[in-house]
Symmetry: C2
Subunit: 558 residues, 2 copies
Amino acid sequence: MAKPKNILFIMFDQLRWDYLSCYGHPHLHTPNIDRLASRGVRFDRATIQSPLCGPSRMSTYTGRYVSSHGACWNNVPLNVGERTMGDYLRAQGMGCWLVGKTHMMADAEGMARLGIEADSVIGARVSECGFDVFERDDGMRPEGPEGFYDEGGALAYNDYLRGKGYDSDNPWHDYANSSIDDDGNVLSGWFLKNSDLPANIAENDSETPYLTRRGMEFIEGQGDQPWCCHLSYIKPHWPYIVPAPYHELYGPEHFLPPVRSEAETSGHPVYTAMQKAPVCRAFSRDDVRDKVLRAYMGLIKQCDDQMGVLFDWLDRTGRMQDTLIVVTSDHGDYMGDHWMGEKTFFHETSVKVPMIVYDPSPEADATRGTVCDTPVECIDLLPTFLDVAGGDSRAVDHILEGRSLLPYLRGQTPQPKDYVVCEYDFSMRPVADALGLSTAEARGFMIADSDWKMIHFEGGFRPMLFDLKNDPLELVDLGDSAEHAEVIDRLSAALDTWSRRPSQRVTISNDTLLAIRKKPSTKGVMIGIVDEDDTAAELTAKYRNRKAQDRRAVKAPV
Amino acid sequence: MAKPKNILFIMFDQLRWDYLSCYGHPHLHTPNIDRLASRGVRFDRATIQSPLCGPSRMSTYTGRYVSSHGACWNNVPLNVGERTMGDYLRAQGMGCWLVGKTHMMADAEGMARLGIEADSVIGARVSECGFDVFERDDGMRPEGPEGFYDEGGALAYNDYLRGKGYDSDNPWHDYANSSIDDDGNVLSGWFLKNSDLPANIAENDSETPYLTRRGMEFIEGQGDQPWCCHLSYIKPHWPYIVPAPYHELYGPEHFLPPVRSEAETSGHPVYTAMQKAPVCRAFSRDDVRDKVLRAYMGLIKQCDDQMGVLFDWLDRTGRMQDTLIVVTSDHGDYMGDHWMGEKTFFHETSVKVPMIVYDPSPEADATRGTVCDTPVECIDLLPTFLDVAGGDSRAVDHILEGRSLLPYLRGQTPQPKDYVVCEYDFSMRPVADALGLSTAEARGFMIADSDWKMIHFEGGFRPMLFDLKNDPLELVDLGDSAEHAEVIDRLSAALDTWSRRPSQRVTISNDTLLAIRKKPSTKGVMIGIVDEDDTAAELTAKYRNRKAQDRRAVKAPV
């Protein structure tokens, strides 16, 4: 084993932490991901920065909180002024490549303002969140009356499918994400009643194995050049449908019961308003859950099998010896827990993600197979990668808001963070209208330490509070408990301090700020000096012994 | 009178509001600025966004708070991702030009990252804070053992002086900002003992008249093209020295007594630590104040005389009829008040600036000569200018944090702001070390409404509080008064909300956010829909009646 030369940054989409056997699922066995955990460190309190694909990923790719980079929702462009993973790694001589999904939307207005052409090298990188693109596949090719959700979605994958004989103008939909009946009718995977049916595709042609192969093709072509590969899968994200045999591996005997209580339905006004969304009502139905969980668990099992293919190949090719590997997700999936569907709120179901980091270096031998329960954040990955690439993440801690995880991997005991933060901006959701909130008000902020999680809402609501130690399922909201006022005050104060962090002071480093404190100006600015002899002679040297003519009487020009 | 076609945006540097006769100075008569006030609106509660040149100006030029744009101190580069006055005005067909000072430092790293060449049109604008440069003159050519403070400082002005026979490698220093003795020795204006001497320059060649002429030359050359001209003077900023006859117009009989109390010297720990800076100790001396006030008042009188030259010329050329004119400053100057020198703290002496706005349009006739005592901010100028140029500042209120002043000029009664905010980042000052503060902690935030001003410090200090109505000189700090806990709580809560403002959500407008609330996705994403008949048929149309072949049995590739 040597120092890692490369980074394989694997992200799944909408993968719950507790649907992996290494994180405790009793029936969904994921031996391949578990094997990586046994060779690395499994972080047991990894928190995303927003419970939604786009903002969560933009935080991971920039190493900054959502309110720092501003891309608060899917398809909100990332400001052209933000630095990305690719900027940091390429500066260290490491390539930074994309195979799969980012959910990046380019800041076309900002690029136009700065004269950046999208088809230039810099423009292409800025458009793709700093990645060089081996294959961009956001895994989404929905189509509605107003056209495609994503004009560039799954184009190469659709070409691949057509090349394999999947005849359709949109094989992504008709085959990969739908089933079929005996009369040849397409049964769309968008409709949850079809989620227990097999997708109309050979398993090996479905998107997860396809992307695994694309990832291996990328790695194979790299030669000796150090690389970071962001292998970024769309699954187990919806549409919830999976090809045979995965569609029939799991049934009610394998399902975890929904985590919810009646009391939750008359709780905090923002939370209960959220529960009224159609997706939450749907996932609160047992029949829907019964259909969808079969597909969701099957999709995860397929992901794990593909990890087996990939890790075996990495072992065979020697890449396991020189590659740091991360497996994580961009957020979870409520699946009816807490009367919610999707991910867009703050329970651990949604904001806690699996995070497994394998470091091939000898310094990491002591931590192999261990679990780290210190709270960490997904913004910690970029500083980790920068340090692996040979940089110094601390030197850019005026921009990067995360902290390198390397000390945890290498058996050191760094000072843990005081808290982790997750944000959710729902200013464009109908629920904001239902609650009468302005675009500034429709936002929530979660702050948590090892013991407590508080959720603050703008707009004048009380906070929510969960006792993570004694109520790990988060069924009892203590936000209006007088007994817990002190905890709430403490976390509120911490959130206020966090809110005032100098997140935009990105053009001067903290080291530079500290150095300037120590060193007086030596470029001739003399403020408040009465007499040249009041200060060091070398500072005033330029102003001593100068001669001039008397020009006070010069005639003014006519 | 017609709608204003052009904007003349005049800024002085370090000009106290109360050193103009229209703001109440009893001995310093400024009839020309007063005349503009009599033809426009004089804002009596205009607050800058930081008590220091660079950050204050970057806020004015971007329309955003300092913690939003991040350029927290002089010479800290403005992030290349920030939009500036020039971006907004040029989009409306109005030129945006600089004649004088900005204190802008280009984000060279950001420009390099984005491939922006400094000598391209876009690069030149980005480097100059969005202005096209008629003349950049930051008015500063100090030189010390490590070289010039500003490599590009006062170059054209120095050339001008040399052309007029001011023979020196640095006539800016040796003539414009120094005096001379009978033996030809240069008596540097950097040393306050020389502040009562006449500068060794013909008055007409000094920097204020020079810049006035440059401004008129610019305007003369514009023809019919609408323009915004930022005519930005260095004076009455230090070096405190002024040519004859201005050096001898004022003496002790014209000085305002220093505003200070003994109690202030043992007050809030941050404030008292600030008082220990050499410049504060110097300005607390009566002999220093006696020398410097002569120069400072003379410099202001000269500025006012130049305003007379300029406004007369504008009247003669007809430009007064089609030009909106602003006279303001970037901050004040303590001049020994509150035991402070310079500007770097939060008393009104420092953070309140003169702001006079003259609008030639008939809609403004009713407000001519009136005073507006509603609290406004310097970030309100850019939205005002954008509206004058024909744009709609409200449509970009997701970026601009100020509000147009046009309603005040035109006799409407807009809802006033709840509060104004000013920030001061002293993380690079020695006082931060003296107080043991980290770079994140060495920051203060002022929030004020019409009645109260509260100052919050990071790092665990109590706040400061002033009763602006009953203690307008701000001599009594009520920050530890139990009686005022409610006021402090209210302002603290307001500051917390302000701190969480979505200041980086700059790539999507509030109107767009609101529109998305009202309109369900019509691009094929179907979340939580169990059956296609559960939702509108047109939304699911693309997924109905599709046909496919059964491909589940396709052989996997070998």
